[in-house]
């Protein structure tokens, strides 16, 4: 630290205040040591001010040097940026629809006969999971105390299964508030999510077991085994990935959240 800079620092309050940090910030090769800073008998506030002023000055220099054009806009303008982008996306999907409808015209069957029930009745595809839950007949327990009788009809059992599944789904947000930003942070709940997705898929396959080219008993077993297995694999993989991410060391970093 040269005497000149020290004098300049002491005189700074008397002169007109300069905000660019020129009188305060030491050149890079003359950065004062901690001992020198302490010898100046200036308070912590002054030290903090110098630190921030230096950082601000470096930032200012970088901005002056770079050719980056700063704009005080928060997004791209609607015209032409957003419009052209949206037009290209819309054109792509309209083109795909036209292409598929031209090359793969759907088979149009006979008009429905309202006086006869079709052999296979199916809901829309997004309700297959619920329809699959109605086909849990083998899981309906036959109680010995009732002399091998079932405690409730299969259809009642299927409806109750719907209630149970929907209840579980409704409870999950209260058990885990979704604070994790990435699956590595909470492997267990990521595994629960994978279990749910796979189970929704397999139970949907079970609902259309009539047209699945597969042994029905095997399909029934796989419906419940596959979600558990994939969930366990997910848990194991994410637990292993944690070590690769050095999760325990970087815990603070992975907990970082953008300001609200």
């Amino acid at each position: 630290m040269t005497d000149d800079t020290t004098t300049g620092d002491r005189e700074a309050p008397e002169k007109t205040p300069v905000a660019d940090g020129s009188g305060i910030v030491a050149p890079d090769d003359e950065t004062p040591t901690w001992r020198e800073r302490k010898q100046r008998h200036v308070g912590l506030a002054r030290l903090t001010y110098e630190y921030f002023e230096r950082a601000r000055r470096e930032d200012q220099d970088l901005r002056t040097e770079s050719d980056y054009v700063e704009r005080d806009v928060l997004a791209f303008p609607t015209w032409p940026h957003e419009t052209v982008r949206n037009l290209s996306i819309a054109t792509f999907f309209v083109g795909m629809i036209i292409f598929l409808s031209a090359t793969l015209p759907p088979h149009i069957g006979d008009p429905a006969n309202p006086s006869s029930t079709p052999a296979i009745i199916l809901p829309d595809w997004y309700l297959y999971w619920s329809f699959g839950l109605l086909k849990l007949n083998p899981l309906n327990p036959e109680l010995a105390v009732l002399g091998g009788q079932k405690i409730m009809a299969d259809r009642t059992y299927g409806v109750l299964a719907n209630v149970v599944v929907v209840s579980i789904i409704a409870v999950v947000p209260f058990l885990n508030k979704g604070a994790a930003r990435r699956p590595v942070e909470q492997p267990f709940w990521a595994a629960v999510g994978v279990f749910g997705v796979v189970f929704a898929f397999t139970i949907s396959l079970l609902s259309v077991k009539n047209i699945i080219p597969m042994n029905v008993d095997l399909l029934f077993d796989l419906t419940f085994l596959a979600p558990v297995v994939t969930g366990m694999i997910t848990y194991a993989v994410l637990k292993t990935m944690r070590e690769g991410y050095m999760y325990d060391l970087n815990r603070r970093y992975y907990r970082l959240r953008p300001p609200k």
């Binding site: 598929l100 793969l104 069957g109 080219p213």
Partner: protein
């Protein structure tokens, strides 16, 4: 790396789309059946027209392109680069 991924993805989706269309023409007896896109040929190759023969050939070409293209860009080329890097590191 991202480049190789999008190349493989583009080949997979593009060739897969063309294979799906052609298999919908030649390997799908009915859209209500349980065997779609993989059923035996619905056209007799012995006395098929030239256009049908070309399309049937292209169907297999697209099928294997959709399988081998991503395999090449996602597995073989990165593996080859890794192997080359390992060899160079060992030599130096």
């Amino acid at each position: 790396m991202a480049d190789e991924f999008v190349k493989g993805l583009g080949i997979l989706t593009g060739a897969g789309l063309m294979w799906m269309v052609l298999a919908g023409w030649y390997r799908t007896p009915s859209f209500g059946s349980t065997e779609q896109l993989v059923a035996p040929l619905t056209v007799d190759t012995a006395n098929a027209t030239l256009l049908n023969l070309v399309a049937i050939t292209l169907m297999d070409v697209f099928f294997w392109l959709a399988l081998l293209g991503p395999l090449t860009f996602w597995v073989l080329i990165p593996a080859g680069r890794q192997a080359r890097k390992a060899v160079e590191e060992r030599r130096s």
